[in-house]
Amino acid sequence: MNERRQTPEIVALVLLFLAITVITVAGFAARDWLPVAASEHAEGVDGVIRYLLLTTGAILLIGTLALVAFVWQYGQGRPTKSPRTSAKTERWWSLVPVLGMALIAEAGVLLKGLPVWDQVYGEVPEDALLVEVTGKQFEWIVRYPGPDGAFGRTDPALVDGQRNPAGLDSDDPAARDDLVFRNVLHLPVGRTANVRLRSLDVLHSFTVPAFRVKQDVVPGIVGRTVFVPTIPGEYEIACAELCGMGHYQMNGRVVVHTEAEYEAWVANQTGWLE
């Protein structure tokens, strides 16, 4: 076998590997792929993503350079010295990826990630706005407790798609002033939203890409997601957990108002049962 004749192929291979790595890394950096960041913790999530892009991008470049250097150097049939290394040398070398990866990976989780994780899953401030979002095939039912500040009783048996989508129990006085909406969630800017998550049927996942919010909605369990909208405007709600034929069109809207706008809007609403 003559390894010298394969030089053109070696050149092509080196170019191919370089091209792929450059395209991959450049592609990530080419444009801001992420949607607008419109919640307080979104900055933190994006920070983690930027950190990972920088560190893993660097590792990928180093790895690729080593790979193409060896392929180039040792792919053309030139005589080389003995490749043998002692077990001890190999052990010492393994410390490089061990320490490097451990540092980069765990720093990402603990130093960059954990504070943001705590921001999302930590204590909810007292003045948070309580609202409930219920997933069902294939829409989001939004409920506010109303002026009394308490959610009324609901019963799955009372659920009626058009007339009583939340299954409100009219025998409960607390239920009378509950506000109910379909596929639209109104929130004031700058105030913590404490969203109670429920499902009426299968799994869903309450997702607002602009808020970097994704929280599964699990039947039988009352879940929670907490975030602070920072920019007034309209954002899409998506479902991220396969929930059936209409999964792809289970979209809703979040309307983020200024505080004054929101107060005016609330004042105009009446309870679903009233």
């Binding site: 390894e3 394969q6 192929e9 291979l13 091209a19 792929i20 790595t21 395209i23 792929w33 992420l34 999530v45 990972l52 893993t56 590792i59 790979l67 392929v71 040792y74 080389t80 490749p83 043998r84 290394t85 002692s86 190999e90 052990r91 070398w93 990826p97 061990v98 990866m101 990402g108 989780v109 603990l110 990630g113 994780w117 899953y121 095939q137 799955p156 659920v159 049927d201 299968v202 799994l203 996942s205 890409p209 970097r212 994704k214 929280q215 599964d216 699990v218 039947p219 039988g220 369990i221 991220a240 957990e241 396969l242 929930c243 059936g244 034929m245 209409g246 999964h247 792809y248 069109q249």
Partner: protein, 588 residues
């Protein structure tokens, strides 16, 4: 015992054979057939994702049960996604890499005449044959094949009223998977027993080729992990047909009716599923890495760098893989402290993987590369681990997963790890061992063409999926343009579709090469690649029971480039002359 006295009849020799090599080939051919379906479905999926509004009268004519007036129905799209995943993971990659090459190479690598339990081995193969028919047949039942995703999360998969595919199709899926698990468990048990008990004289554990090590670790993982899915599948069958509520809580409303279940939770299923599911991806990926080590040692003409650190890395990976399953459930509503735990241990897995990656690259240092088709795919595999493995860090970090979970980033990531890495491992193994399997070479020209046509479009297509994920595209979505925020990046979907079509078309070169070479390939001698491991001391193709006289092993598997040797290497079987023991891959 003479090697020529194998069974001579057609049925015992080619069909109901207990010969590990025949069974390995049967698995490989079955995997190729199943891959035709799996890849064909991915083409339909990509068509839908690129042009969600288009109609395809021709496809409608060909497949009236999938298309209605030329439009792919949403529930059929979900069936395609589910079945593509299921078939590719369990019925293509597991079959080819584990059952196929595992069966073929383990006895040949360790110097055994056959598997420890040849009849059990035959039984393993014949158990998956009905499983294949059940899976494929489920497309033709009235409401179509299972559509709840390859993860088949209940309640969607438990309730026929929730999704058309959750009817008979889902039952058939569960039965087929049950057969698959039974078969795979028998196979893994056989691998473990064979590797522990049937090694020839002198074949210490530390002289085994790394392919055998990876297959051993994978088999142990499979034995530990698969029972969890078996339990989950049985419980799900009971929920579906026995009126139990393992995974179903009370108060679910479907079709205007309150369902009469109570007391269960869907999260239990997720835990059971991922207790299998996460180790399973390493079960698939590790043998591909082992093959890359073996192929690059033979065609790099040098000992593997870090044989022992690699074995340690494999053991650490195996241990960690059993305690990280929750990283698939960061957004499931699990306790946030638990989520952080899973995140910390998950990203720790990148550490042993980085050791393997470095060892693979360092194994090229001072090598003498022979750029065969097998070597090209091994090198491509190394490049794929880089992108695939590092992308895993983004998903294992809980905070970034909060955004990336269930997005196309995930899809891109696992198509690198268990699509490209395993796929390239299968191709490298096929070009490498084809002469030993069939006594003929595959065409090197076509093999190289296959590589050059495959790599770039495949990488670009799967890398672009990562960008889509960053832009917020979610997986299992029938029409990506249904979300306004996703519309600006829809062009990328078209690009991915074109790129992957080129990559898929390139596989026709492989198919042609494979079947053409079976009959027309150049005849191969015993040791065509000048390999040092045991399989190259058996005739090509290896006869029944492999050797007339079992080989005796005197050294490690990678004694290449030894000073003073006429061919520059020591076969494992050559008794030691007084010459100094080379350092490096030496044992003990």
């Amino acid at each position: 015992m003479s090697a020529t006295h194998g069974p001579q009849g057609f049925w015992t020799r080619y069909v109901f054979s207990t010969d590990h090599k025949t069974i390995g080939k049967q698995y490989l051919i079955t995997a190729i057939v199943m891959a035709l379906f799996g890849v064909a479905w991915s083409i339909l999926i990509r068509l839908q994702l690129a042009w969600p509004d288009a109609t395809w009268p021709l496809l409608g004519g060909l497949m009236p049960n999938l298309y209605e007036s030329g439009v792919l129905l949403p529930e059929r799209y979900l069936s395609l996604v589910t079945m593509h995943g299921t078939i590719m993971i369990f019925f293509v990659i597991s079959f080819a890499l584990l059952s196929g090459f595992g069966n073929f190479i383990i006895p040949l690598h360790i110097g055994a005449r056959d598997m420890a339990y040849p009849v059990l081995n035959m039984l393993s193969y014949w158990t998956i044959v009905p499983a294949c028919f059940l899976m494929l047949g489920s497309f033709f039942v009235p409401d179509g094949a299972a559509g709840g995703g390859w993860t088949v999360y209940p309640p969607l998969s438990a309730l026929p009223e929730a999704l058309p595919g959750s009817g008979l199709g889902q039952t058939l899926w569960l039965l087929a998977m049950a057969l698959f698990i039974v078969s795979f468990t028998m196979g893994s048990l056989n691998f473990i027993t064979t590797i522990f008990n049937c090694r020839t004289k002198g074949m210490h554990m530390r002289r085994m080729p790394l392919t055998v090590w990876t297959l051993l670790v994978s088999s142990i993982l499979a034995i530990i992990a698969f029972p969890a899915l078996t339990a989950a599948a049985i419980m799900l069958l009971f929920d579906r047909h026995g009126g139990t509520s393992f995974f179903l809580p009370e108060g679910m409303v479907l079709g205007g009716q309150v369902l009469a279940y109570e007391g269960g939770t869907p999260l239990l299923f997720q835990h059971l599923f991922w207790f299998l599911g996460h180790p399973e991806v390493y079960v698939l990926a590790l043998p591909a890495l082992g093959i890359a080590f073996d192929v690059s040692a033979t065609f790099g003409r040098r000992p593997v760098f870090g044989y022992r650190t690699s074995v340690w890395a494999l053991i650490v990976i195996a241990f960690l893989s059993m305690i990280v399953w929750g990283h698939h459930m960061f957004t499931s509503g699990m306790n946030p402290y638990l989520g952080e735990y899973f995140s910390i241990v998950t990203v720790a897995i990148t550490v042993p993987f980085a050791v393997l990656g470095m060892n693979l690259i360092a194994s090229l240092w001072r090598s003498r590369i022979r750029l065969t088709s097998a070597m090209l795919f091994a090198l491509g595999l190394i490049a794929a681990i880089g992108i695939g493995g590092l992308g895993g860090l983004w998903l294992g970090t809980a905070t970034s997963d909060m955004y990336l979970h269930d997005s196309y980033f995930v899809v891109g990531h696992f198509h690198f790890m268990i699509g490209t890495v395993t796929g390239f491992g299968i191709f490298a193994a096929t070009y490498y061992w084809f002469p030993k399997m069939f006594g003929r070479f595959m065409s090197e020209k076509l093999g190289k063409l296959h590589f050059w046509l495959t790599l770039l479009p495949l990488f670009l297509g799967f890398v672009a999926m990562h960008y889509l994920g960053l832009a917020g595209h979610l997986r299992r979505v029938y029409d990506p343009t249904a979300y306004e925020y996703a519309v600006p990046t829809q062009g990328l979907n078209v690009f991915i579709t074109f790129a992957l079509f080129i990559a898929a078309a390139a596989q026709l070169v492989f198919l042609f090469n494979f079947f053409w070479s079976l009959r027309r390939g150049r005849r191969a001698e015993e040791n065509p690649w000048e390999g040092a491991t045991l399989e190259w001391t058996a005739p090509s193709p290896a006869p029944h029971l492999n050797w007339d006289v079992l080989p005796v092993v005197y050294r490690g598997p990678y004694e290449y480039r030894v000073e003073g040797r006429p061919d520059g290497y020591w076969p494992q079987t050559e008794p030691l002359a007084v010459a100094a023991t080379p350092v490096g891959a030496r044992e003990g």
